[in-house]
């Protein structure tokens, strides 16, 4: 290798190293920030041992939000027999229903298990993560709310949500929007009142309170009734923690829950990868500049021009 001057070598090393260090430190502080959730975040503990599948919560939600008339009365329990997609799927939340209750026949016990399903109001929501126009906001009260005015209708949030909760008004040609539970944010949560479904439940299967307290309540219920509950609070850590958590007497996969979800936020899957971008943008130019200087040998243009002329002949 023709001698690169020591000065040039040191220069290129410093440039490469310096920009790499700068990029890395800024990447680290951005990517490694953990969000533990707002301390005052409210939550709901759903105790499946208390739910009797009366669907009063569905009726209360419908009334509270002025939702369209349902196909069947809310005290019609034939809805529990409805299946879709060749029997693989039970009822889902729709553009007319922010919440549904499903029935699950379980292997062990005689009695079926009922489960109320709605947006889980995750601490670090995947829908919010996936939205490039910031249509979602995780409020400090705990609700994940949606702003239809900025939404562009890409529906990436529907793909991102690990619980497949957001519904879409496909029927609306000009003003479609995402439809999902908003934790009764406008009318109730901001006024210190519980959501309509919680208030309506006759069995108090839904317990409203601060999320931090509910985690303790849930574990205390398990501790005091070891034969009654499975020793797990669903939503405590799933996808980084959700505001709506569940207790069950049967294994959660038998009650329709996805038990293969990761126990850290969906955001983490892309955070580290995307966090490398500033570093790449900083290092590669400097690195390749260094290579270029090394390769040139630092002898100047005249030398290389001569070489070209010789070659060209």
């Amino acid at each position: 290798m023709s001698g690169i001057s020591r000065r040039k070598f040191l220069k290129s090393t410093v440039v490469a190293g310096g920009s790499a260090a700068a990029a890395m430190s800024s990447t680290k502080s951005f990517a490694m920030k953990e969000f533990e959730g707002y301390p005052e975040s409210m939550g709901v503990l759903v105790d499946l041992t208390r739910c009797i599948g009366c669907r009063t919560c569905e009726a209360a939600c419908n009334k509270e939000h002025g939702l369209p008339e349902p196909e069947l009365p809310f005290d019609d329990f034939s809805v529990f027999d409805q299946v879709f997609h060749e029997g693989k799927q039970k009822r889902r939340t729709t553009e007319k229903a922010y919440t549904v209750v499903n029935r699950y026949e379980t292997k062990a016990q005689g009695a079926p298990v009922y489960r109320k399903l709605q947006c889980f109001h995750c601490s670090e929501p995947a829908c919010l993560t996936s939205c490039f126009v910031n249509a979602y906001t995780k409020t400090k009260e705990g609700a994940v709310i949606y702003n239809a005015d900025v939404c562009v209708g890409c529906r990436m949030c529907m793909v991102a949500c690990p619980f497949s909760m957001p519904a879409y008004t496909y029927d609306s040609a000009l003003h479609p929007q995402i439809i999902k539970c908003n934790f009764c944010y406008d009318n109730r949560l901001t006024k210190g009142k519980p959501p309509a479904c919680v208030e309506a439940c006759p069995q108090e299967a839904l317990t409203f309170g601060h999320r931090k307290t509910l985690v303790k309540t849930a574990h205390e219920r398990i501790r005091s009734n070891p034969d009654k509950y499975v020793d797990h609070v669903y939503g405590e850590t799933e996808v980084g923690g959700t505001s709506w958590m569940y207790l069950s007497s049967v294994p959660f996969d038998q009650a329709g829950f996805n038990t293969t979800l990761q126990h850290h936020p969906i955001l983490d899957n892309t955070k580290s990868f995307l966090g490398i971008v500033p570093m790449v943008l900083g290092i590669w130019p400097a690195l390749f500049m260094g290579f270029h200087l090394l390769a040139k040998g630092g002898k100047g243009d005249k030398e290389s021009k001569d070489k070209v002329e010789v070659h060209g002949e």
């Binding site: 196909e71 069947l72 879709f84 007319k96 006759p202 108090e204 317990t207």
Partner: protein
């Protein structure tokens, strides 16, 4: 004259005492029927056949678990409360409030580090959990309307009866 006045006064005082005896926790015969309707809106109030239930379960503590003049109902309670005497009132709403999720009640449960019973259901939940759990076990009636009739407001709420959906295009995502 003086003695007569004293006797009359004594008689009045004794009469008042016996009339108000229940307020002092002196045991009456339990009521035969109790009207439960403090929360009625979607359903009518309940005419609760207390006499029937006393006949089924002699231990008052099974339902009135805050009243220990009879045996303590659960071992877990006896761990701390085995020496307690009876309470004045067997009323559920003394501990189970009608609105358990107001900011005030939530704070009350969360902020007192010396309070032991913090996972107390509200009144509606207490009624249904207490009653239905036993009804399910014993095969007693469990339909909502078995205990209380639906009101008109209730029928409108559940879109039931004369308020049932009339059909037509529903437009759900699974149509």
């Amino acid at each position: 004259m003086q003695i007569r006045k004293i006797r009359i006064m004594t008689g009045i005082i004794l009469a008042l005492f016996f009339i108000s005896a229940p307020a002092f926790g002196v045991d009456d015969a339990p009521p035969t029927s109790v009207r439960i309707d403090s929360l009625s809106h979607l359903y009518e109030g309940v005419d609760f056949d207390h006499e029937l239930h006393v006949g089924i379960e002699e231990n008052c503590s099974v339902c009135h678990h805050h009243r220990f003049s009879s045996e303590v109902a659960a071992d877990r309670c006896a761990a701390c409360h085995s020496e307690c005497g009876g309470t004045f009132s067997p009323t559920c709403s003394d501990c189970h409030v009608a609105e358990p999720f107001t900011g005030k009640h939530i704070r009350q449960m969360e902020e007192d580090p010396h309070r032991f019973h913090v996972d107390i259901t509200g009144l509606k939940g207490a009624y249904h959990l207490k009653c239905l759990n036993c009804h399910i076990e014993t095969g007693a009636p469990t339909e909502c309307v078995d205990c209380h009739e639906r009101t008109d407001a209730g029928n409108r709420f559940y879109r039931s009866g004369k308020y049932a959906p009339t059909g037509g295009k529903s437009g759900g995502s699974h149509e």
